[in-house]
């Protein structure tokens, strides 16, 4: 069994009286595609936003590579090698696809302010490399033809791919994907499912995703965690979780996502 890459211990997040995440613990092993599922409002995105420092948890720790992420500054989460996408897509809308993929490489650029201001040789070479990498990842995700298009003019499915590409250019060890196929048509989500498995297979990047499309989750995830009202109610391989979910649904009443499908 491969090593543990990322760990959440006893995470709790309250919004006033509402407990969004209740004593949640999990771990991700290197090279896994891990799914976090649960009905709307279960606290899934809140987990991501705690990792990204958009919310400050009330208790718990988030560990990666021996560091407690919660003790770092928000931008250092990316420096630790975590890339992410957003449920409602947060792209740099008035910029081109290429510019988005250049910005994504921010943490990799080593030239200092002095060297970039005078555009010294070292900086020029680095800029060239960054441009090449943007092109390479863009082409890999099928964005080669639209590198100079503005984001604001692109359809939703394409934007989601751009966002994924932007998360990948920062050379992450782990990517967090918040509902990667939401709003996509079946063909687009099929493409994305393939892309996600390729990310793990060819690039060796560990994937942690939130998704409502149970078909996709069951097919591509190695393991799942199930959140319900902020509490972990099940974990394990997809088949096992599905069986447990059926039992739970029988007791709690059927809840959208957990209901048996197909």
């Amino acid at each position: 069994m491969s090593e543990v890459l990322f760990q959440i211990n006893h995470l709790t997040k309250k919004f006033g009286g509402l407990i969004a995440i209740n004593d949640f613990s999990m771990e991700i092993r290197e090279g896994e595609i891990l799914g976090l599922i649960g009905p709307n409002g279960a606290g899934k995105t809140t987990v991501f936003n705690c990792i990204s420092h958009f919310y400050k948890p009330d208790a718990g720790e988030i560990l990666m590579g021996g560091n407690n992420l919660l003790q770092l500054k928000p931008h250092q989460v990316a420096e630790m090698g975590i890339g992410r996408t957003f449920q409602n897509i947060e792209l740099f809308g008035n910029l081109t696809v290429r510019e988005n993929l250049l910005i994504g490489q921010h943490r990799l650029i080593r030239s200092g302010f002095f060297s970039t201001t005078l555009f010294l040789k070292r900086c020029r070479e680095e800029e060239k490399r960054v441009l090449e990498r943007a092109e390479e990842i863009g082409v890999r995700l099928g964005l080669g033809g639209i590198m100079d298009s503005l984001i604001s003019g692109l359809p939703l499915g394409t934007r989601k791919l751009v966002e994924l590409a932007r998360a990948l250019v920062l050379e992450p060890k782990l990517v967090l994907l918040d509902e990667p196929v939401a709003g996509m048509n079946p063909m687009e989500s099929e493409t994305l499912a393939r892309v996600i498995t390729e990310i793990r297979g060819r690039l060796g990047i560990t994937v942690f995703l939130i998704e409502h499309d149970m078909g996709l989750v069951m097919r591509i995830c190695d393991r799942l965690y199930v959140l319900h009202y902020g509490k972990k109610i099940a974990e394990g391989i997809p088949a096992e979780v599905r069986r447990k979910a059926l039992v739970i649904a029988a007791y709690l009443g059927q809840e959208g996502d957990l209901a048996p499908q197909g």
Binding site: L102, T116, T117, C123, E127
Partner: protein, 308 residues
């Protein structure tokens, strides 16, 4: 450096041969406003942070360079020091105000402008209060830049050098970080950009540029008066980049030409000065609604029409 640069550079450096006296003075003034436009565009156009207090950095730069040269400091040191004075002030002010967003930042910078103006006005022993003070013409070794024609060369060199630096900043890591912050602070953070640090950097660089411009202004006019550095001046700076074109170096130049030449041309029209603030306000509204990319985008749109 490619060879075709020689032609526009040649024309630029020959300008004082064709324009003299008052005309070259206006051109010098345009150059000074270009420097402000470059700096403010970095902050507002690229980084998306509004400032209505840049007259404070301009004033500080003007008095810094004036006092240093009076005290015998060489002009070559005094001018960057004027920029540094603006930068240091921006850093100190930035620590609290850059935590504010959008309109709240704009309002607190209005406060900065007003406080700076009032403090300088009341430091009569230092600034001369409403009487103002005279400033020596700059000297570089044996050269004395007494005429507005000779001063043009100083302005031209500063504008070219600072444009070059800004061009490099905007096309590399820091420039992209500024744009990212303007577009989405969350996504910028997720991409590993230290948002507070880069906001500060944009604020400090823009104040440096504005301070340098203040220094140039003091030596061009050879006389500075606090009453000129009021809120209207900050509004003029902001309208300059909105009219010219945000996040664009040519836009900064067009905007500077506009806000310097138009009021100068209307100097003899009675009442023109009184409605200046109103006109700038209306123009900003017009451009934001109908031509958000400013005059620069207007030109490219026109080109598009003729292509079809």
């Amino acid at each position: 450096m490619r060879i075709w640069w020689v032609v526009p550079m040649g024309i630029l450096f020959a300008l004082p041969l064709f324009f003299r006296g008052y005309y070259i003075y206006v051109i010098d003034l345009v150059g000074i406003y270009v420097v402000i436009g470059l700096g403010l565009n970095l902050l507002t156009g690229y980084c998306g942070q509004l400032s209505l207090g840049h007259a404070a950095f301009f004033a500080l730069g003007a008095f810094t360079s004036a006092y240093l040269t009076i005290g015998g400091v060489p002009f070559l040191v005094a001018l960057p020091a004027a920029g540094a004075a603006g930068a240091v002030m921006a850093y100190l002010v930035g620590i609290p105000v850059l935590r504010l967003r959008l309109i709240f930042l704009a309002i607190s910078t209005v406060g900065l402008g007003i406080i700076t103006h009032d403090v300088l006005y009341n430091l009569k022993g230092f600034t001369g209060g409403a009487d103002g003070m005279t400033v020596p013409k700059p000297k570089l070794g044996p050269l004395v830049f007494k005429s507005d024609e000779s001063f043009f060369y100083i302005v031209a060199v500063v504008v070219i050098f600072l444009s070059f630096l800004l061009g490099n900043i905007t096309r590399t890591k820091a420039g992209r970080a500024f744009l990212a912050i303007r577009e989405s602070e969350r996504a910028a953070t997720a991409a590993g950009i230290d948002v507070p640090r880069y906001k500060m950097l944009a604020f400090v660089i823009s104040a440096f540029y504005t301070g340098v411009a203040g220094g140039l202004y003091a030596h061009l006019t050879a006389y500075i008066n606090v009453t000129a550095f009021d809120i209207l001046l900050s509004v003029t700076f902001l309208s300059m980049i909105i009219i010219g074109g945000v996040a664009s170096i040519p836009g900064s130049i067009l905007g500077a030409i506009f806000v310097v030449v138009v009021p100068e041309a209307l100097r003899d029209v009675p009442g023109a000065k009184d409605i200046q603030a109103l006109v700038y306000g209306l123009l900003m509204g017009f451009f934001i609604i109908f031509l958000p990319g400013g005059l620069v985008s207007g030109f490219s749109r026109l080109k598009g029409i003729f292509k079809k």
